[in-house]
Symmetry: C2
Subunit: 244 residues, 2 copies
Amino acid sequence: MAVDNGDFVRVNFTGKVKETDEVFDTTYDEIAQEAGLFDENKTYKPIPIVVGGNHLLPAIEEAIIGLEEGETKHIEVDSDNAFGPRDPKMVQLVPMKEFKKQGMTPFPGMRIQSEGSNGKILTVNGGRVKVDFNHELAGKDLVYDVEVTEIIADEEDKIKSMIELHYANPNVDIDKTEIDIVDGVANIKLDEMAKFDQKSYMDVTFARFRIAKDIWDNVEGITKVNFVDEFEKKEESDDEVEEE
Amino acid sequence: MAVDNGDFVRVNFTGKVKETDEVFDTTYDEIAQEAGLFDENKTYKPIPIVVGGNHLLPAIEEAIIGLEEGETKHIEVDSDNAFGPRDPKMVQLVPMKEFKKQGMTPFPGMRIQSEGSNGKILTVNGGRVKVDFNHELAGKDLVYDVEVTEIIADEEDKIKSMIELHYANPNVDIDKTEIDIVDGVANIKLDEMAKFDQKSYMDVTFARFRIAKDIWDNVEGITKVNFVDEFEKKEESDDEVEEE
């Protein structure tokens, strides 16, 4: 069975800058370590996506259509289909005093955040600091090696894969998720530990909305997704019963 | 119908220190204003409780048993049945430098917090500050005037009343709560706005647990409470349909 648009699949990949062969993202542990990208908070394993769901670059999701389970493909994505061209207007001169105000000493190569944008300092020249707010991969052609490790066939597994993708919480055991599909409604009961998330309820709602949307859009016949938190009375202990 | 143990009721009350007639808590707007207790973040109206549910002092919950709807009662609660005796060991001498460290200038009557305990400064004498960590009402006999404004008969209304009590969120409209009781399970769908709570999921879980427990313990036949967050696919607009 070959990968089709709307399929739920798991993929391994490594993305490199075409010109320099520099690895910028990978799902492989060893490659991350070699490239100096290894993050101990990340789990290196195939990630679940929906083909056409905008979870990876659209060009990559399109390119894997037709692959068989276990098949790999080398994909070239030019900058226009990746992170777009570099915009010279996104390179800005920032007065040194703005940095001093925040107790920062800028140096070339330093990464900063300003109003939600990420920037990289190019040069520091007297009172002026040149900052590039372009995406780091803007203007670059990329190459990806992608392996389709699994095409997910089962409806429950499709739903679980989207929970895995959007509900990143190392304390939540995906195998303890209970899913019950009745009359077009998917009822999801997450691992009990999910109830004790420190994140705000609103952030959890946004993650749930993304899960629900990927399910509606790609699982035939499901139009509603319910997240159910159960609270059940425990059996009374003998002591308590004797009291009565 | 008279109030019985385990009943869900709404009450208005005013609590005073017996000796001084000083009001320390009330559900009445005007009395709060007169007593200088008015808090604009609070809504002054009868509060829902379960009789015997430990929502008010047990002595008060006991005293209202037998009252009819609309009936009022004057209740005296001696200190042993209210906030207990004053404990001289809870009056402590704290070195002035501990206050200075935190940039505080203590004065008699000032209220402070230390490791979760509330204290009141009694005297400031040179390098030593005398702080009373006893509950403000410890050792005091109290009098309450309580009115039972409503005995809640309907099961759904009982459940809603506990949501009102434990799920304090001014953005959540209790009248938009949907409750569905099937085979001993109460399924609760809160107002859509509840999904966007800024509180942590864990705090929301604790509030839900308290609601669930009050329901199990006091609504005949219910042993499970589910909180359901629905995410439903919206009808596609004409534009989207035409695309296909």
